[in-house]
Symmetry: C2
Subunit: 355 residues, 2 copies
């Protein structure tokens, strides 16, 4: 199997594997560095990081590798904080506060806003690749990053979103199929309509854009990598596979839930963050969905549930974590990330030879 | 690309392409025969056919080809017909009767039940392949068909359903991903949980069963065929692609809707038949979904909406048809089925050479 060279040469990669920028502590500097050392593209999931934390994470990765790695950031949204809605949501969540013996949580007064500062850190630290979730940065932000030689990767869940990414100057685009774990990257379509399976999404995106397409969603092994290439993708982005790697920062209970679960165990929910994301159904998801409450939008809901998820992680209690996972859970393996990448590419090669 | 031989040899096929058994008149004898003549496996969609109609369709196919072809049947369900529920559903549907200038429809007194007779026709006509949707036939039915040398193909939307098919003696199983058009084949899981994308479903099924796996859902061209093989499938089943073939019996308005639509235009609905199925959203789907009515179960609802769909087809009015379609609509092409199969395999070969 001869990997298509364009994208890999631009990114200085040996293997067509991008480790997804999972936010919330999964992408430890060790994971990012190990993926990059193994020839893939490690990614710091900086979505919820302050500029200071991002800089510190970048410097820790740099101590372990001189190779290229990426930073993933969330294009911000700034909905109005309505005090009554926050209070009402917090009242509903108090059911879980009690279960975890967590004190009632104060209301956030303003939304965190790291995005501009994150981009400055990326430029100052001479990061070679920046990927975006939840939308497209402004024209001036794109221009400034490109002037500093940063390779830009957008995220699309529909053909139209991929076209918008290309038109905005992105250098490549992730086509995120409905199988994918974690947040849906949807930004220009209703979430329900943008649940397109990877098998259908990737070739339709490839036909409509000229930039390289990175396939994501349900890709867990060498068979999936080869299949993504057959569909026209220049590389794959894998999240769930790396979530159970030795270097992953996901809580042990989260990793065990992924390793033990079946393909039918995940669901898409907005209750953790205010935005739809795929994870293994647990008590928190089932309880809160049953309330049919009108939760505050992202990122307000995310801030409200954050203390719960933090405390659940401390107690290693999966019932109240966000157990992000894609639909390929039966294929998850616990092994070092470097070993995983070697195995994945051997599997892809063997599969190719068997065709 | 060397196609895996086991399944193809058993089925006497030259090409690893099965034309899906779309019910409701799509699979004309011309389509079935042309697919078989081109080296694929044509399938009569006999789901709603009487034994008499099935026999006549089989004989028309036999006049055009001596090659192998399949018959797809629906494993029956026999819910109780509750007169008040039927009346209430018919009242809601009268909105559409008026639009189509269709007389009010009488209540069905009993459910059609063709299954046993269909199986007898399949045996008498020495059909070589029989595929099942909506479940698994009884042990004695399986035994009888196998005693007559019929190759049996089940349908699964989860790993567990595939395992049940294997245990029941099916010779192969279709893994139907969430991208697929038409009815969900789900029978042992809730429909919502069984929406697994093809990229995630196929390899997980392949790992858990020993019988050959046929990939379905979002496969529309040679790239998809190669990808399905990379995932471990022995063949693909394609419905939407053949729906717009020259030999298709789908109403012209249905074919045009598929050819003109985007990947985001389909949705899964139960309003046409009482069972979830994927089709292009139209007026009937949107109106009836908005009513949030508790419709009768399959196949009662299917009988109630049948006169509407028939009249809509006669008027070539897509607003009130069931416009079944998978998510790969942008890849649909209008061409003769034999030309299509040749093109698909050339594309698969070219894609394989490019990897």
């Amino acid at each position: 199997m001869a990997v298509r060279p364009e994208l890999l040469m631009r990114l200085r990669l040996e293997q067509p594997i991008i480790q997804a920028g999972m936010a919330g502590g999964v992408t430890t500097p060790e994971l990012v560095a190990e993926v990059t050392r193994a020839g893939g593209l490690g990614t710091i999931g900086a979505g919820y990081m302050t500029a200071e934390n991002l800089r510190s994470a970048i410097q820790l990765v740099k101590k372990q590798t001189s190779g290229p790695f990426a930073v993933n950031v969330f294009v911000p949204e700034t909905p109005e904080v309505v005090a009554e809605d926050v209070q009402s949501a917090n009242e509903k969540l108090s059911l879980i506060h009690k279960e975890l013996k967590l004190a009632a949580q104060p209301m956030p007064e303003k939304l965190p806003f790291f995005f501009e500062e994150q981009l400055e850190v990326i430029i100052e630290e001479k990061i070679s690749v920046c990927s975006f979730t939840f939308g497209i940065p402004s024209a001036s932000q794109v221009e400034r990053l490109k002037a500093h030689g940063v390779f830009l990767i957008g995220t699309a869940t529909t053909v139209e979103e991929a076209v918008q990414n290309e038109q905005a100057g992105m250098d490549a685009v992730v086509a995120q199929g409905s199988e994918a774990g974690g947040h849906r990257g949807t930004f220009a379509e209703s979430f329900g309509k943008a649940m397109i399976g990877t098998m259908a999404l990737v070739p339709q995106v490839v036909d409509e854009v000229d930039i390289p397409v990175i396939a994501a969603g349900g890709i867990m092994d060498g068979r999936g990598i080869l299949a993504a290439h057959a569909l026209g993708a220049g590389a794959v982005q894998m999240g769930t596979a790396f979530l159970t790697s030795r270097e992953s920062g996901a809580p042990q209970a989260h990793q065990e839930a992924v390793l033990m679960s079946k393909e039918t165990d995940t669901a898409v929910t907005s209750i953790f963050s205010g935005k739809p994301a795929r994870g293994i159904a647990n008590k928190m998801m089932i309880w809160m969905e049953a309330l049919e409450h009108n939760w505050p939008p992202y990122p307000i809901q995310n801030m409200l549930t954050q203390p719960i998820r933090k405390e659940a992680a401390r107690q290693n209690e999966p019932a109240f974590m966000s157990l992000w996972s894609g639909q390929g859970t039966r294929l998850s393996v616990q092994e070092p990330a470097g070993v995983m990448i070697k195995r994945l590419m051997e599997e892809a090669e063997e599969t190719w030879e068997s065709l």
